[in-house]
């Protein structure tokens, strides 16, 4: 019997080590350990042994069984491992083939820039207000200290609907509109579309976009205006951007200024974009003229404020390096996909 057991053991180990796949292994399990398996048969024959031999033989049989089981388990793990390896190898793909196309659209560059600028001012406590494109002469000119005979009306070539109704030439009419419905403190920006009868070329469009800003409160100073615009320019174009404030004239602000920033493209070295001056003009601004405050029903003795305006199209072009304003309105997909 001992001999028999040892034979089964040796043969089983030999066979297990040769098993090629899980199926063969399963057959071997049945062959040796199954109900009718060889080892089971041997164990069944234990009853015929003399009592004193039984414990020794029993122990040996169990050892053989455990050994076979262990061998089988080991072989199974081995085979499974190899199978997985084989599968994974078979499943190998060329990861350098381009990915499947998922198309996401994009915002128009004017919207993106408007959002970016709005976020900066919202961060400084501004709200966003809008006004009509078709506007009264009163709000567009009169209430901004530009009476009918004012020479600066010539500067802004205006599209008229009637004598009193026009397409706004700037976003500034929203200044007095806001003052009429809101008392100070006022801290708003006004993005919007504006119209001037300029013929189209690379730098002109009869329709373009502006963002107006207006702050009215007690004790607002020109130093505050400079502070706010400096923060804005640095946030928009980078912390190293310098600002230059030049005296200028607008009928609705006094004192007035134009604001230059160091050229986005060359950083102030001088290049084609900045006409080799190192500076680019980006803003008009000033302290709100007392007449405008009065038109808005605000007492200039108690309140002061500042206003500023910038051209979105120009900022978008500067930021993205677009050299022709017409591209913004042509909407060529090959252009739009770049943003």
């Amino acid at each position: 019997m001992r001999h028999n057991l040892e034979k089964i053991r040796d043969e089983a180990i030999e066979n297990i080590s040769r098993a090629k796949d899980l199926e063969q292994l399963e057959r071997l399990r049945l062959k040796y350990l199954g109900k009718k398996g060889e080892l089971t048969q041997v164990l069944r024959g234990m009853g015929g042994l003399p009592a004193e031999k039984r414990p020794v033989m029993g122990k040996l049989a169990n050892e053989v069984r455990t050994l076979i089981q262990e061998q089988m388990e080991e072989r199974r793990r081995d085979l499974e491992e190899r199978l997985l390896e084989y599968r994974l190898k078979k499943e190998t793909i060329d990861v350098t083939i381009p990915g499947k196309k998922v198309e996401r659209g994009s915002l128009h560059p004017l919207t993106s820039v408007c959002n970016e600028i709005s976020d900066i001012f919202i961060g400084m406590g501004f709200e966003i207000v809008e006004g009509p494109d078709v506007e009264l002469d009163y709000y567009n000119f009169e209430a901004l200290n530009i009476p009918k005979s004012h020479p600066s009306r010539d500067v802004q070539d205006t599209f008229y609907i009637t004598d009193e109704i026009l397409l706004r030439t700037h976003t500034s009419p929203v200044q007095v509109r806001t003052m009429e419905v809101k008392s100070p403190p006022i801290k708003i920006i006004v993005p919007g579309r504006v119209y001037r009868s300029d013929d189209v070329d690379a730098t002109h469009s009869p329709i373009f976009h502006q963002i107006e800003g207006l702050v009215i409160d007690e004790h607002i100073t020109m130093a505050d205006l400079k502070g706010v615009l400096d923060v804005f320019v640095k946030k928009l174009f980078g912390e190293r951007t310098q600002t230059k404030f030049r005296p200028h004239y607008f009928p609705f602000t006094e004192p007035s200024m134009e604001v230059d920033a160091t050229c986005v493209t060359c950083g102030g070295e001088g290049c084609r974009i900045c006409s080799h001056t190192g500076w680019i003009e980006i803003l008009g601004a000033g302290m709100v003229h007392p007449n405008v405050l009065r038109y808005g029903g605000i007492d200039p003795k108690s309140y002061s404020g500042f206003a500023f305006g910038l051209g979105l199209d120009r900022i978008a072009n500067l930021k993205y390096g677009i050299d022709d304003i017409r591209l913004l309105y042509e909407n060529d997909m090959r252009f739009l996909r770049q943003f």
Partner: protein
């Protein structure tokens, strides 16, 4: 304003470089746009005298000249026909540069040495205006007064720097050399030296020669006249012509040039009439009579209107006040008597006249901005002085000066603390006084007040804020600190509606659409293009062209244009959207502002799009905005822009919101689009008003669902939405989800019918549903479908 530097230097001592001057002028408010150097493209051309002219041995048309160029004599070969021995001519010596980047080298011409080139006026880039005789065919022959070897630029005064200043409309006083000189003197803290105006003793009496009547004192507060006789019309001296040219004005003759010179120097527009042509030697300043005509100096016959101011003689207009003189009294070579005019005309009136006639001039540009009432008298004397100096005629004694205005300067008092408060500065009053004095203001400081006397040429100064600007710009905007606002803390955030709008954009972009931006005005023809009747529209009275003359009432035409443009540029697929305003008049003619409504337009074409893709995007947006369940789509067969079988109207809570569908092939054709175009136009304002983006958590299901499929055959014209509504109605609370998962026509389905398969999920929130319970409901749905739409269970 073009300012020749040499002219400026006559009035102000400038000891800084041009670059520094320009930078500093810009920072005090006179923005420099450009600096040009006159004659900078001429170099190495000197004055030479032709000593001998000899025939060229090898060429009939060439001659050999010996030319004395001061320090030596050189040999030059030339082909010019017009030279003689003894002529003074410009000689480009070896290494010289001429306009067009031409460099002169010595070399042999047909075997003979030529050490330079004799220049024509054209080769130097000169015209008769620059130097008389420049345009002759041949070499420029110069006058005899020049020194040999002298640089031609020096000789012809082609060596100035010209600074172009941007003058803002509030500063007409700076439209003059003296105005700029005043600014420069303050800016660089230098001294100002203005010309002393002195008219030498004259004979005669102006009152005997001309009569001046100012009928409209309002529009002509001051009119000064002088008379000059024995006029000798000739070319002005080179220095004067050069200055005029460099400042951008064409020289004409001595008299006209002097009036222009004075205008440029002092800022006062002037005019000279041929007095012999002035009827009755009487000048009347009056309003034009309706129907009167005047041919202006530019030879255009102009119809005048009653509110225009004219200068007339006893019978007819002879000039448009402040705008342009009349051809009928123009100065000519035969002029003997001249009437000089120097006046102040009402700015708005000049502006109106010049605008109405489309005629702008140097004169109108100054008058319309408001002139100093004290200037006409000084200017007319300055002109008389120049006439005497140039010997252009003899000035008759006396000035007619009709004055109906206050010539006293404007005075105001301001609190200097107000100025500091506005600027955010802490300047001492003394510092302010010093700045204002440097700008020729009279100032006295008492306690917290500054008493200020404003120079009469500063018509832009009215209140404290104007004084503050003067102080700020001279103190230096750059020297004002940058501070952050104190005061009320404000809440900066977008409104709910603004956030929703951002969200809509995000959704659309996320679904693969690109945003476009198009013009708000369109052609009236677009309605033909989209096969619609033109509605009432807002019309621009002065459009750039017919094509951009009305404010749009729909975004569809602009969208189709963009799609067509992309298609024609061979862009294979286009998926775009625009958010823009449309404009609807409330009444016509427009009495009040039109209604402006924000619309959303989506347009797509390409291989992978169809109606359901477009609808899918719209539904996704509606779902995200919490609106999908409140939205209903119904077929539209009558909209002429769209395909009658592939178009739906969209309503939310039974309110019409817009339309979506395939563009009618005829409309597509109008835009050159022969492909399937899908388009939606929705009322975005309404959508944003209705949208509810607030999300609420609903508990996850605790009990299992029962899933049943339902396949029916119905006639093809039964709408899916009707079937859906029936299923929903009869499904009750336990019907959780209804999903149409298959539509089939063809084999086994009778002609005119289609099969529709739905997946229905039943679930109760509080218990496990029993099959029998579901069977009852499901059975009722089937019966209802049979009864209401004749469905047959498959």
């Amino acid at each position: 304003m073009l300012v020749p530097l040499s002219w400026l230097k006559e009035y102000v001592n400038i000891d800084v470089s041009t670059e520094e001057l320009c930078n500093r002028m810009t920072m005090t408010g006179s923005n420099v746009e450009m600096v040009t150097r006159v004659g900078e493209n001429i170099e190495g051309v000197v004055i030479g005298k032709i000593l001998t002219i000899a025939e060229h041995p090898n060429a009939d048309r060439l001659v050999i000249c010996n030319v004395d160029i001061g320090d030596k004599t050189i040999q030059v070969v030339t082909g010019a026909p017009n030279i003689s021995e003894g002529d003074l001519v410009p000689v480009a010596v070896e290494g010289a540069c001429l306009p067009g980047d031409i460099v002169i080298k010595r070399g042999k011409l047909r075997g003979e040495l030529s050490e330079g080139m004799l220049c024509s006026g054209e080769e130097l880039g000169l015209t008769d205006e620059d130097y008389h005789g420049s345009e002759v065919d041949g070499i420029l022959i110069l006058g005899e007064e020049y020194t040999l070897g002298m640089d031609i630029r020096e000789a012809l005064l082609l060596n100035d720097e010209v600074i172009e200043f941007e003058i803002t409309p509030d500063r007409p006083d700076c439209l003059s050399m003296i105005g700029i000189a005043r600014e420069a003197a303050t800016t660089i803290a230098s001294s100002l030296c203005l010309p002393s105006i002195e008219v030498s003793p004259c004979t005669g009496n102006v009152y005997n020669e001309v009569k001046v009547v100012v009928e409209d004192e309002q529009l002509c507060p001051r009119y000064c006249a002088r008379v000059v006789k024995d006029i000798k019309i000739e070319e002005s001296p080179l220095w004067m012509r050069r200055r005029l040219i460099d400042a951008g004005i064409r020289p004409i003759n001595n008299i006209v040039d002097i009036t222009n010179y004075v205008m440029l120097e002092m800022g006062q527009p002037m005019h000279a009439f041929d007095l012999d042509k002035v009827e009755d030697r009487t000048v009347v300043v009056r309003k034009a009579k309706e129907g009167e005509n005047l041919t202006t100096l530019d030879d255009v016959d102009r119809k005048l209107k009653a509110n225009m101011l004219v200068i007339a003689d006893a019978k007819k207009p002879i000039g448009l006040a402040g705008v342009m003189g009349g051809a009928n009294t123009e100065i000519t070579e035969d002029t003997n008597w001249v009437l000089l005019e120097s006046a102040k005309f009402d700015g708005p009136c000049v502006r109106f006249t010049s605008k109405a006639l489309g005629l702008r001039s140097e004169s109108s540009a100054r008058f319309e901005k408001g002139m100093d009432v004290n200037l006409p008298r000084k200017a007319i004397d300055r002109a008389a002085q120049l006439i005497q100096e140039l010997g252009a005629g003899s000035v008759v004694d006396g000035v007619i000066d009709v004055l109906n205005a206050d010539t006293n300067p404007y005075e105001l008092e301001v609190r200097w603390t107000d100025i500091n408060n506005l600027l955010g500065l802490e300047l001492e009053p003394e510092a302010m006084v010093e700045i204002l004095k440097s700008l020729n203001f009279g100032v006295r400081h008492r306690n917290d007040i500054l008493d200020i006397v404003v120079p009469t040429y500063r018509q832009d100064i009215n209140g404290m804020e104007d004084i503050a600007e003067e102080i700020a710009r001279i103190y230096g905007y750059d020297n004002i600190p940058k501070t952050l606002m104190k005061g009320t803390v404000s809440r900066g955030m977008k409104t709910e509606r603004q956030k929703k709008l951002d969200y809509v954009r995000d959704i659309l972009v996320g679904s693969g659409l690109y945003e476009i931006v198009t013009y708000s005005f369109v052609s009236p023809k677009v309605y033909d293009m989209i096969d619609k009747k033109m509605p009432e529209v807002v019309t621009i009275s002065n459009p750039l062209g017919e094509d951009q003359s009305i404010m749009r009432t729909t975004l569809i035409p602009s969208m189709l244009e963009v799609l067509a443009r992309n298609k024609s540029r061979k862009v294979e697929a286009c998926k775009v959207f625009e958010i823009g305003k449309i404009f609807t008049p409330k009444s016509l003619p427009l009495k009040e502002l039109p209604e402006e409504k924000q619309m959303l337009c989506i347009g797509v074409y390409g291989d992978d799009v169809d109606f359901y893709i477009l609808k899918g995007i719209v539904e996704m947006m509606l779902f995200e905005l919490g609106l999908l369940e409140r939205t209903k789509f119904t077929p539209v067969t009558t909209d002429t822009t769209f395909h009658p079988g592939r178009t739906a109207a969209m309503a939310i809570d039974n309110m019409h919101i817009g339309i979506l569908g395939e563009i009618h092939p005829k409309v597509g054709e109008n835009y050159g689009l022969n492909t399937q175009i899908l388009l939606a136009e929705l009322d975005l304002d309404a959508i944003l008003d209705l949208a509810d983006t607030q999300k609420y958590y609903k508990g996850l299901p605790k009990f299992p669902a029962v899933e049943r499929d339902l396949a029916i055959t119905v006639e093809k014209d039964v709408l899916a939405s009707d079937i859906y509504d029936i299923i929903r109605d009869f499904g009750g609370d336990i019907l959780e989800v209804v999903e149409l998962f298959d539509i089939y026509e063809g084999d086994q389905i009778p002609e005119g019918y289609r099969s529709m398969a739905y997946s229905l999920i039943y679930r109760a929130a509080d218990r496990t549903l029993k099959d029998e319970e579901v069977d009852v409901i499901h059975g009722e749905i089937v019966k209802a479908l049979e009864r209401k739409v004749g469905a047959k269970l498959r």
